[in-house]
Structures are given as C-alpha cells and as structure tokens.
C-alpha cells in the first residue's frame, strides 16, 4: 500500500506559467517519527531473533571445526573422553518424530475431513475449538498423560507387534522373548514408540488445523458439481477436496514434523536415555537432540556447552528447512490462491 503525505507547494508567483505542483512522498512530522520508530522496532527484532541464529552458528563453529564430520557420524556422547557425536541422537530424534507422524498423519487428515465434510453444523465450531485447545495444552501435560496412562498400554501393543511382526527389524526387541510365559515389561517401555505417541498428541492439532483450513477453502461450486453429477460424499472428497487440499496436507504434515523434532519435555519424561544407533523403536532406551541438551547442560564445561549448542544448531537447521518447505508448499498450492 502506498501512502503519501501531500506538502502544498509554495504559491506560484503571480504572472508565472502554471506548473504542476510538486508532490512529496516523504513522511513529515509525526509520520516521520512513526515510520522511523517502527523501523527501529523492526530492526531491533531483526537483531534479536537473527542474533540467536548467528550466535548459535558462531558457537557451533569451533565444535564442528574440532570434530569435523565425525560429529555427525559418532554415536557416543562422552565429553570426558573427547568423543562427541550426534549420530545416535539424530537417529533417535528422527525415529521419535516418525513414530509421532505415523500416528498423527492419518488421524489429522481424517479429523480435518470429519470437521470440514462430515460433522453436523451444530458441533463443527466446537470441534474446531477443541482442536485449537488441544494445541494449547502444555507439553508437560501430554508428557504426564503419555508416561502414566499410555505407556502401560503402549507396552502391551509393543509386545503384540513384537510377537506378530517381530521378523521386521523395526519391531524387533533384543533381549526379550515375546513368547515367554511372563513377559519382560521393562524391555518394552520408555522407548521411541512410547515417546512418539505423546508427541503425536502435540503435533496432531497443528497439522489438523492447517489441513482443516485448506479443506474449508475448497470451492463450494466444485463440490456441488461433483454431488450433482451423482458422486457419493466419499466420491466428492476423493475427486475434489483431497486434490484441492493436497498442498495443505503436505504442508500441515511438515509443520507437525518440524514441531515433533524439537519437542523436549514429554520426550525427556518418557524415554530412558541410550546413545546407540538402532532401528528398534519398540525397545527401551533412545535419545533425542533436545533430550540430550536438557540432560547434559547442567554439568557442561564451556567446550561441552559449545558442543551442545552445535547439536541445537543442527536441530534448528533441520526444523528450519522443514518449516520453510512447508510454508512454500502451502503457499504454492492452489489452496493458497486468493488468501492473504
């Protein structure tokens, strides 16, 4: 939007030719103060927020220089023996996030479809509020829920998966016999699987909110055209709503994934830390980057703090790439057309 302040030009001297008066676009008086003040606020926020990113990169630099590529390939985190690497925690972070998405993706798509297409008009707005409220519930509460209520049941589910699908490496639990008369509960709790369920509760509402918004922007004319041509409701959804909302589905999922990667406190509550690269998501023990930071910052020396900051920086870069990708996909898709 272009705004102008018109400064009246001085009166032309009598007798001279009529000329168009000059228009100035420069802000004057209080407006100049306002524009400069707003610019100063914007610049200071730029310095603060950008400063965090730059500071992280600057702090991470010595660690990355010292350990080089082994920082990404080493799985142990033993600063006393000068062995530091984030391979295990990165794998753990990704496996927790993937488990969370396995639960959160179908439920959020189906919930968004229910709200936008199936729900009776009376309960639609309450359901929207419920999803927003779910996003506002603190993560520590989901941590308590996951640790005390879900984990015993999740362990049973893990045992069942191990028993029936144990030949797939992902569902294998080492050191436990699934057919034993008394099953060893301790091998099945505090795993990436259990943590992923709690994290799923956190990312589901975020993903669902994005998808619902995109689904609700489907042109009603196209939906009515599909129904008028004789499509069933599901036919209309597959032919119109889902293709239209594809960008929203991908973008919402990626936003949720970005949040799942950075989640700390619920994961710290549930997992028992273990520094090992393993695909066995049902087995006890794993670690994530944020859990590593939460567990090790207290006793860290400045050099170790720099290593932790490097791990945090890597996590930040991953979430940044995922979030930016999500924003680009949501904006580029047809769903975003005509929406500010």
């Amino acid at each position: 939007m272009s705004t102008t302040t018109i400064t009246p030009a001085p009166e032309p001297a009598s007798g001279s030719a009529v000329r168009p008066r000059k228009l100035s676009r420069r802000a004057t008086g209080a407006d100049a103060v306002f524009a400069h003040g707003a610019r100063a606020v914007g610049a200071s926020v730029l310095v603060i927020t950008g400063g965090v990113g730059v500071f992280l990169a600057w702090q991470a630099h010595p660690t990355l220089q010292r350990y080089g590529w082994s920082f990404f390939t080493e799985s142990e985190w033993q600063p006393d023996q000068d062995v530091i690497g984030i391979a295990a925690v990165l794998v753990g972070t990704i496996s927790v996030a993937l488990v969370a998405m396995v639960f959160a993706f179908p439920t959020s798509v189906l919930m968004a479809l229910y709200i936008s297409e199936y729900a009776p008009a009376r309960i639609k707005s309450s359901l929207v509020s419920l999803i927003d409220l779910m996003a506002a519930v603190p993560s520590i509460v989901y941590g308590l829920w996951g640790f005390f209520l879900v984990m015993p049941h999740a362990a049973e589910l893990a045992l069942w998966l191990h028993k029936n699908l144990g030949w797939i490496p992902v569902f294998d639990v080492r050191g436990s016999d699934p057919d034993a008369a008394v099953w060893d509960t301790t091998r099945y709790v505090a795993s990436a699987f259990c943590a992923g369920i709690a994290v799923a509760m956190m990312v589901m509402p975020m993903a669902c909110a994005v998808m619902r918004q995109v689904f609700s922007q489907t042109p009603p004319g196209e939906k009515e055209a599909a129904l008028a041509l004789g499509a069933t409701r599901w036919g209309m959804i597959t032919a119109v709503v889902l293709p239209f909302g594809r960008g929203g589905i991908i973008g919402g999922t990626m936003l949720g994934l970005g949040r799942a990667l950075g989640e700390t406190i619920a994961v710290v509550l549930i997992i028992s830390p273990a520094f090992e690269i393993k695909p066995n998501i049902l087995e006890v023990g794993t670690s994530t980057v944020s859990a590593l930071i939460a567990g090790r910052f207290g006793e860290a020396s400045p050099a170790q703090l720099s290593a932790l900051l490097a791990a945090g920086f890597v996590l930040f870069l991953i979430t940044l790439v995922i979030n930016t990708g999500a924003a680009v996909i949501v904006n580029r898709s047809r769903s975003g057309a005509g929406v500010d």
Binding site: D31, R39, T49, F297, G312
Partner: protein, 384 residues
C-alpha cells in the same frame, strides 16, 4: 401495515384497482413438510444403526466367546472393525462398490474423529482424576513448599510460589514481547520496504527455533558468559526469545487482513499515517491481536524446556525476579514428577490441573475476545 379488511380477493362489484395481499388462512391444513434433501431416509437410518448394533453383538461374541482377546481396547477395536464390515455388507445389498466405499469411508472418518476426541477428553480427565485430592485443601494454592518434604501430607505445602513465579516470568516476557512483537507487525504491514521483507523472513524462520534451544541460548549468554545467577529474569528472557517470533508472526497475519479500504478511507479523509494506524488499523485488529497475544501466552506458560535451563527450582516464594532461583508451574510439575515419590506425583498432577485450568481460561478469554467483533458498537447507536 397489510390491509386487514380485504377478506375477498375478488370483489363482486366493479373491479377495483386496489391489490390486496393474500391473508394467512387460519383454517388451512398445515403445509406439507418438504423432504430434506441431505438427510438419510428412515430406511437408511435403520440400516446404519442396525449395522452398528449387529457389530456390537458380533464383537461381544468374538472377543468374549471365540478368541482370547480380553480387555476393553480389543472389544472396541473388534466393534469398530465388525461394525464397519456389517455396514459395508448392508451397503452392498442396495448398491454397488461406490456405495460400499462411501459407507466404509464415513465410518472410518467418524471413528478417527471419535478417537481424537476421546484422547483429548482422556488427557483432561486423567490429569484431573489423579490430581483432585490436593486441590481440596485450600493451602495448596495459598502456601509454598518451603520446609515440606516430598512425603508430607496434602494439608502442608502448596504451589503458590510456582503460580507467582509463572505470573512474574510471563509478565516480564510479555512486557518485552508485546511492544516489540506488535511494533514489528506494524512495521511489516504498515511501513514496508526492503527491510520489512528481511524482518519477515527472519521472524518466520525463527518460529522454527526449538524452545530448548532458546533456553540454551539464554543459558549460554546470560548465565555462563555474563555470570548472572539462575533467576526468574533469565527464565523471562528465555520465554521472551521463544515467544517473540510467535507473537510477531501471529500479529502480522492479523494486521494483514485489515481491509485496505479502511486505511485508504482514513488517509483520504486527511489522517496522517500514524493516526491511521493508531485510530483505524489497530482498533480494527484489536480482537485478533488479543487472540494472538493470549494464545502466545498460553504457549509460553506451558513451555517447560526454557525455564528448565534458566530459572532453577526454588521451593519457597520468590517475588524478586533478579533474586536467585524461581519456580514456575511447568518446572514444578517436572521436578516433582521426577522425584518418583507417589505423594509428590499426586502433587504434580494437581499442579498440572491448575496449569490446565489456567490455559483453558486464557483460551476461553481469547475466544470471547475474538467473537466480540459483532457486538454492539457505539457508532450504531443513533440508527433505528
């Protein structure tokens, strides 16, 4: 006013040029109700309900009599699977594959929605059920935990220090982020320019910052490098670093949807840009801004990881944010649960209930503020 005296539409004498409105006929039979287009017919409704009842019976048979599947979860899963199957069969009796797909999809979508709703309800109910006992003692919200051991009974000790700590930390964080966040949003939408684009890009990027990294940043800069003690102030700064991009971005979205026509009308009437922002743009966006800020606060009050690194957990009431360790609600919950003592865990659940109520209150306030837009306005008073 309709002409009530004209009973007959056609007068017997000379045709009059007056036209009469038809009157409501008291004796007429009631209007035939229109068939609702979208609603299922009684047959369809019977088939649907009947299928689920049949599924219930089959599920009982399968889980209780045929297969060794004990427990409520298996029963519910069996009910869902068998009910969907019976629905599919009844749909196949009257239609083809298309109808079967439609019916199965509907039950799967509805089932998923029920799962989500029950998960939310289970979270709230579970936390409240585990934590209601300490809440019945008033001292739980009026005293702190100084001198109270983890095994002490619930009539001793409380979470006043955590509530006060959360309030102070949030207050300071809000005092920092509110002017900066909304000022940035005003800059991005109302002033614009190349710098605004850079600011918007950076702010959007920083919303991806994991909260624990924000805490680690303040810990490194404020506590390790500057040598300050762990305090409420450090926690406030960590929360502010985390909240600033969130609030700035949300406020930016709200300000961008203020209709451009309003701004142009104000400018056309001769208002300066500053006056336009202060008297037109910000008042128009006020409910949206309030919602954005309150949801940001709800996010900030529940974040544990920044305060875990920066504030340190005190067991007593601290009112001065620069005076050493200060507790807050999420940190209290975390440290108390970690102690492993059953009494302490119950206390933590009670504190979690308080935190949930707090977030719920903030959320409802945000909703009410967002809805106020249609309320009575002073500009409408003089009319009709």
């Amino acid at each position: 006013m309709p002409n009530r005296s004209g009973g007959a539409l056609v007068s017997e004498t000379a045709p009059s040029p007056t036209t009469y409105r038809p009157l409501y006929d008291e004796d007429a039979p009631p209007a035939v109700p229109r068939g609702a287009l979208g609603k299922p017919t009684p047959d369809q409704r019977f088939a649907r309900i009947g299928s689920w009842v049949a599924g219930l019976g089959l599920a009982w048979l399968v889980t209780q009599r045929l297969l060794p599947l004990e427990g409520l979860p298996w029963f519910l899963i069996a009910w869902f699977v068998l009910g969907t199957a019976v629905t599919a069969v009844t749909a196949a009796m009257s239609g083809g594959l298309v109808e079967v797909k439609d019916q199965v999809a509907e039950s799967v979508v509805t089932g998923a929605a029920l799962v989500v709703v029950s998960a939310v309800v289970s979270t709230v109910v579970f936390v409240a059920m585990r934590g209601w006992r300490p809440l019945t003692n008033l001292n739980f919200v009026t005293s702190d935990m100084s001198g109270v051991g983890p095994k002490d009974s619930f009539d001793k000790g409380g979470i006043l220090h955590a509530i006060v700590g959360s309030g102070i930390e949030l207050g300071i964080a809000l005092a920092i982020t509110l002017p900066l966040g909304i000022g940035t949003a005003v800059f991005m939408t109302e002033v614009g320019g190349r710098l605004a684009r850079v600011v918007r890009t950076v702010v959007e990027a920083m919303t991806a910052l994991p909260s624990i990294v924000a805490g680690l940043f303040i810990y490194t800069v404020f506590i390790v490098a500057l040598g300050q003690p762990r305090s409420g102030l450090a926690a406030s700064l960590a929360i502010a670093v985390m909240m600033l991009p969130i609030i700035a971005r949300a406020a930016d979205v709200v300000l961008r949807v203020v209709p451009g026509g309003l701004r142009e009308a104000s400018l056309a009437l001769g208002a300066s840009r500053w006056r336009t922002v202060w008297h037109v743009v910000l008042p128009t966006a006020r409910p949206g801004l309030a919602t954005a800020v309150i949801l940001g606060v709800a996010r900030g009050v529940g974040e544990t990881s920044p305060v875990l690194l920066t504030s340190g957990a005190a067991a007593f009431l601290v009112a001065n944010p620069t005076d050493g360790a200060m507790n807050s609600l999420p940190l209290f919950i975390y440290t108390t649960v970690r102690s492993g003592e059953p009494t302490a865990i119950t206390r933590a659940f009670a504190a979690a209930t308080v935190l949930l109520v707090l977030v719920l209150a903030l959320f409802v306030t945000a909703r009410l503020l967002a809805r106020q837009r249609t309320g009575p306005s002073r500009f409408r008073k003089g009319r009709s």
